[in-house]
Point group: C2
Chain length 780, copies 2
């Protein structure tokens, strides 16, 4: 080996030693005396199998960083090999900077070992407490998407992304191999994937591990990469091979950066699972088999052959040479880059440190002028699109819009005035709004949209994911994992807040009447609500200006997962921008212009644009046809505000809740999603015992918009009649009017496939209202 | 064209005509007079773009079926091209058999057109009402996985699977290209994928559509396929090309079936989007561009150029020739196979017709002998594994176990006695439980596991998906879509019930203390619960025998989605098999041996294995340290039984609920998942106002099992003290005991990384109990 590879090998041995130490040792970290049973952890946890591959790649990454003076972010797909990342950051000093009690000496090494996978210590994965990590690798599949998101708009950055061959079987990862097509050398960084073929998952071989080499080569050539193979188990040969491969790749990156073109390289590393670990245990082969996946050698806390085998194994790394006085030797440290170039110290892995708040345009320019509630009809997402175009213009390197080819369908197409879609291939004459420098990222994979956005946010930038509501649950589990990451990151105390993860769901359940049942699902709200209001907020703006107010708020927020559900169809508009901002500020509120009797018999409430429309139409019906019924109308925009303050730091106090919803009168609640969710959030409130929620009852098909709400009992007639019934009002005129309209609507829709004009075009107020509630009661 | 291709072309034109007719026409289906505005649908819905490709492939599939006498199932990935599938089944007569009002004549054609995407009619996708379909294609990505599942254990079947180039961008589809490696010619059918490159998604080009041909060829060669290209837009040439390609593929299938080996073929069809539709509309190109995606030509209901353009377009198919008297011509019909070989009539697409109930072994053989509650310690999933091995043995061609490499980790490894894992590649000497004829299907893609299983079920067979609990939300959206399919299928009235979709979730939130926060998530229960008890059941068996009882029940059920959460760690066992079956039968019940005071002050309830253990330990503490506190213990196994009968047909009547939980005493409920779910299900019950749920509070890390429950307030101490507090009992001795044990536990776990032996090894009863509740009260 050349001298520089001596350092690589020494560092590698040191990191492997430290990794095994974390799994096994609770004392005697440097064999100052022979290993004794008391030095062994009672419960041995950790994933050894992938670890030596990760340390090998970290070592070679550092060699390249130092040699070339480049910035690199290391993404460990097999993040369950946490010991490797922890060992690396301990060796480069960043671990001690973040965890001062774990010093870079013998005492700190003991503590590094003890605290690993230990109560009160650090998790076994490359989790938020791990310096240099943006990717925990617990739920597999997202490493390459995260790496790509990190590279967007970071032209100087190289993201080395290790992909395990187990992870490579997942859907998200399989389609991530297309990601390089979405990187533009002039403005984006380089992603260098390393497919690590160690051949095994937990208990069985991987698909890629058993594919012939020519198939692997064809596969990645087909995905557009230039694969370079490094294969073997002899450390010296492997060091030479990997150093050469890394140089080839980084030379290719330099060429691509210079020329703007070229096939990006990747590395296929084939090395034994559990490399350098026990070859055999109790007669079974371990190194190079699935048996090396987790703890390769069970060591009971007693003197015996296992204890001796462990000691032999660990001494094989020559720790006395590597840590002469407990600290890493000069040779080991000679590999480590300086300052922020250290893998554990790169600010890209603590993206909040790099975050600049967005320059948000005043919403006033996009807002609708509302002379009176219902006087204007417009599309909420269309209005938002104009504002988002301005966001893109003002933040040309720190904001992107993501979505699965639905930007135009979701009526956000005004953004194309500011930036076209990104073109991952050639552009043809017949294409529209598509260009190689586009900043609207479309790909028909919710996993890629989500993974790219997460990578972009984790490295300190901003974004918004727009999707059809029904299909966002495709990334339900990714959402969970990102929320978990943010929660753990907050708990570290040292990670800076990162921009929030924002979803805009449109083409929602009530307006997918044309696409049918598969496109009708509001369940993402339920999924997120369970994760708790400390991290999650759910917004249901009823109109365009409220959507603008919500968008302003979420794009300025940090460390949250914000889900907005908004309509795209032209609808009556209710609030001025000022009123919308005030409404959002309180989470929910009485709309006095609709109904605000000081002594209501019944509250009609709504959350969501279509429920608001139907609920207001119900109020309108009631005010005309049962004018003596004393009503109040409440609109909810911040759904989690229904939770009390002990469950949601921003939840409405009981006094505010009771002032809006009352405590002993029926509440007819028209809700966008599954009714159970409102009960789940509001069950502690006084009003709950008389809360009657109308929402999505899992009934749908291809039909008209009104028939969709009618199928689910969310229509104005059902709401109005339920209100009258719950208030004990006979309302004969109302009954007659509803029955007539309902019959005519059903007949009309079955005849024409469209809704009755007076229902379709209804707005508030449908005709001049009576002078006020409490007038003459000709129903009596 | 050769004569047989004349029939193919005629059929294709007929199907295209019928497809466009469905989108546009509400009357005058055969131009008995010039088209008038009143013949046009007021609202034109449907996806034209993909349709001519689907009809083209159906035509060529039929040619092959007839020529070769083979059974074929047609899976339309772009199922949003529903008109194509509906046209096909109308032409082959199967549509009229299922929808008798839609006869195969002029009158029926008018009805076919009218009812499409129309209120009261049929959805716009290849949904459950579509004969011959097992795949709606609403949420994209699952066609090839479904096709593969359909082919398992159907050695005579050929599954032609059309994959759209939009769908091909999804993660699930990207990894599905590996699926052929899991088909074994001796026992499984053939899947023939057709990648349909029409170049565009809704509004932009696809990635694959713009990839150079050599990259596409390399990509699929890398995935192990032999791709055959059919490209162009001239119908005559394309017919010849496709017929030859289809013959080549089916010849290759025959060879592979004969020899058991060979690279499977696939077809890459490149044809214009909206082929044969309007070339240009208002000066914009439409055919061959994204503009053909949905309705290519907006036709107002007025006389004008659009109406004429539509008429010219439709007349171009020469309907008078194709439907001489309103019925399909002899030439068109000559292409159609006979009887069950028709694509719309294949029983494989109505799998319930082929279902044979499983031969289920008696659970007695596997059940644990329980002399007394807590007397035996064992692993629930391990016990189940023995029974599942018998299920595999008794049902060698109709049952499979699916999972992402977690079968052994979930302690189901006894199944390997009956069948090893399937080996998708070569087997090496060091592999265990792996063979080319294995029936345990493992792949590290939850999407493939789920999609394969769904395809297997939809074609009438049985299965079980075992997974880590935390990662099953990866397929949350697939679960939703399958439940939607089952619901719609039931509503058709003609589809036979299919075996239920069953998940077994183990390695659950409370016992992923070693893997950390990413592996701790019980949210799938919330996701499923929202879909409603008509379709979904959630089981939380507290021990092995109850798990057996649940497994018996779910594997015999149909048209349900059953989710079971069960522990894999050795735990105390509570119920005999008989008691377990009775317990399951009532959904929940009082465990009188634990606590059943006739006049309880407080109810302690539990759902889930670990919550049951903690709750029983709490009861034990209370009985010892506050023996005068009057207690009742309730265990819940069928979570949805908490819902009242109007929300769940099998929900417990209020009388039964009240008899167990009381109406006016506090209920301390120890729950496996997020507490909100219990509130969501039980909010209508009288006990709800005094229901206090302890569950997962989104707190986790790498720690010990007991520290996990303690972090979330689900531990025995918190439960016992909450019970005493809510019942107003001072319980000073209890407080002292709890404080002492808690302190010692925390100290012990921080010292050793393990739980205190008396907590870890606790069982019921920890020591002889006092003679009975209501004894002396030395607390007072």
């Amino acid at each position: 080996m050349t001298p520089d590879l001596d350092a690589v090998d020494a560092w590698w041995r040191a990191a492997n030693y430290l990794s095994a130490g974390q799994i096994y040792l609770t004392g005697n970290p440097l064999f100052s005396r022979p290993l004794e049973p008391r030095d062994i952890k009672a419960r041995q946890l950790g994933h050894w199998g992938t670890t030596p591959g990760l340390t090998f790649l970290q070592a070679h990454a550092m060699r390249a960083i130092v040699a070339r003076g480049i910035d690199m972010l290391f993404v460990a797909g097999p993040g369950h090999g946490g010991p490797a990342m922890l060992a690396g950051s301990w060796l480069d000093g960043s671990y001690s900077e973040r965890h001062p009690e774990v010093t870079r000496d013998a005492r700190g090494m003991a503590e590094l070992f003890r605290q690993f996978s230990f109560p009160g210590g650090v998790p076994s994965h490359a989790a938020a407490p791990t310096p240099g990590s943006i990717h925990e690798g617990g739920e597999l599949g997202y490493s390459l998407a995260h790496a790509t998101g990190a590279a967007f708009d970071n032209p100087e950055l190289t993201v080395l992304c290790v992909v395990g061959d187990g992870e490579a079987e997942t859907g998200a990862l399989a389609t991530s191999w297309h990601s390089h097509r979405f990187l533009r050398p002039e403005r984006d960084g380089m992603v260098l994937p390393v497919l690590h073929l160690n051949g095994y998952r937990i208990a069985a071989p991987t698909i890629l591990g058993r594919m012939p080499k020519h198939e692997i080569a064809a596969l990645f050539a087909g995905f557009g990469w230039n694969p370079i193979f490094v294969e073997g188990d002899d450390p010296a040969k492997m060091h030479s091979g990997m150093a050469a491969a890394m140089d080839t790749c980084l030379d290719a990156h330099a060429r691509i950066r210079r020329t703007g073109t070229g096939r990006p390289p990747m590395i296929v590393l084939r090395s034994p699972k559990g490399w350098t670990g026990p070859r055999e245990v109790d007669g079974d082969p371990v190194e190079g088999t699935f048996r090396a996946h987790q703890v390769p050698l069970d060591v009971p806390r007693e003197d015996g052959p296992q204890l001796r085998q462990l000691e032999d194994w660990l001494r094989g790394y020559r720790p006395d040479e590597l840590f002469p006085d407990g600290r890493p030797s000069d040779l080991v440290l000679s590999l480590v880059p300086e300052g922020d170039r250290r893998l554990g110290a790169t600010p890209h892995a603590d993206g909040g440190r790099l975050t600049r708040p967005l320059d948000l345009p005043p919403a006033e320019a996009a807002a609708l002028d509302i002379s009176a509630p219902g006087a204007v009809t417009d599309s909420a997402t269309k209005v938002l699109g104009h504002w988002l175009a301005d966001v893109i213009r003002r933040n040309p390197r720190t904001f992107r819009l993501f979505g699965p080819d639905e930007t135009a369908s979701n009526r956000l197409d005004a953004v194309f005035d500011a930036s076209p879609r990104y073109a991952p291939g050639r552009v043809e004459e017949t294409d529209t709004d598509l260009a190689p420098d586009g900043r609207v990222m479309e790909v028909l994979s919710e996993h890629l949209c989500e993974g790219w956005l997460e990578g972009y946010l984790l490295t300190g930038r901003h974004g918004l994911f727009n999707s059809y509501e029904a299909f966002i649950p495709i990334v339900a589990s990714m959402a969970t994992q990102h929320v978990k990451w943010m929660r753990e990151a907050k708990e570290t105390g040292w990670r800076a807040p990162i921009p929030s993860l924002n979803w805009l769901l449109s083409s929602h359940v009530w307006r997918q009447d044309h696409n049918g049942f598969t496109h009708q699902d509001p369940g993402f709200l339920d999924h997120l609500a369970a994760k708790g209001a400390e991290m999650v907020r759910l917004y249901l703006p009823p109109d365009a200006n409220t959507l603008l107010a919500v968008a302003e708020q979420v794009l300025a927020s940090t460390d949250r997962a914000n889900c907005i559900v908004a309509g795209k169809q032209p609808e009556p508009q209710w609030l001025s921008l000022d009123a919308a901002r005030a409404h959002l500020g309180s989470g929910f509120g009485i709309w006095d212009w609709a109904a605000d009797d000081p002594d209501p018999q019944v509250v009609i409430a709504a959350a969501g644009d279509v429920p608001t429309l139907e609920a207001l139409a119900a109020v309108d019906l009631l005010r005309r046809e049962a004018p003596d019924l004393r009503l109040r109308f409440v609109n909810v925009v911040d759904l989690m505000a229904l939770q009390p303050p002990d469950l949601n730091p921003d939840g409405a106090p009981d006094a505010a809740f009771d002032a809006a919803f009352g405590t002993d009168i029926p509440v007819i609640f028209a809700f966008h999603g599954y009714p159970g969710l409102v009960h789940e959030l509001a069950y502690r409130r006084a009003a709950h015992a008389r809360l009657h929620v109308h929402g999505y009852g899992e009934k749908g098909t291809t039909t008209t918009p009104f028939e969709m709400v009618a199928m689910n009992g969310l229509d104005r007639f059902t709401l109005a009649l339920d209100a009258a019934d719950r208030a004990g009002h006979p309302a004969p005129r109302l009954r007659a009017v509803c029955a007539d309209l309902r019959d005519r609507q059903h007949a009309h829709s079955r005849e024409t496939g469209t809704d009755l004009p007076e229902i379709r075009d209804w707005s508030w107020p449908a005709a001049p209202l009576p002078t006020g509630p409490g007038g003459d009661d000709d129903d009596a």
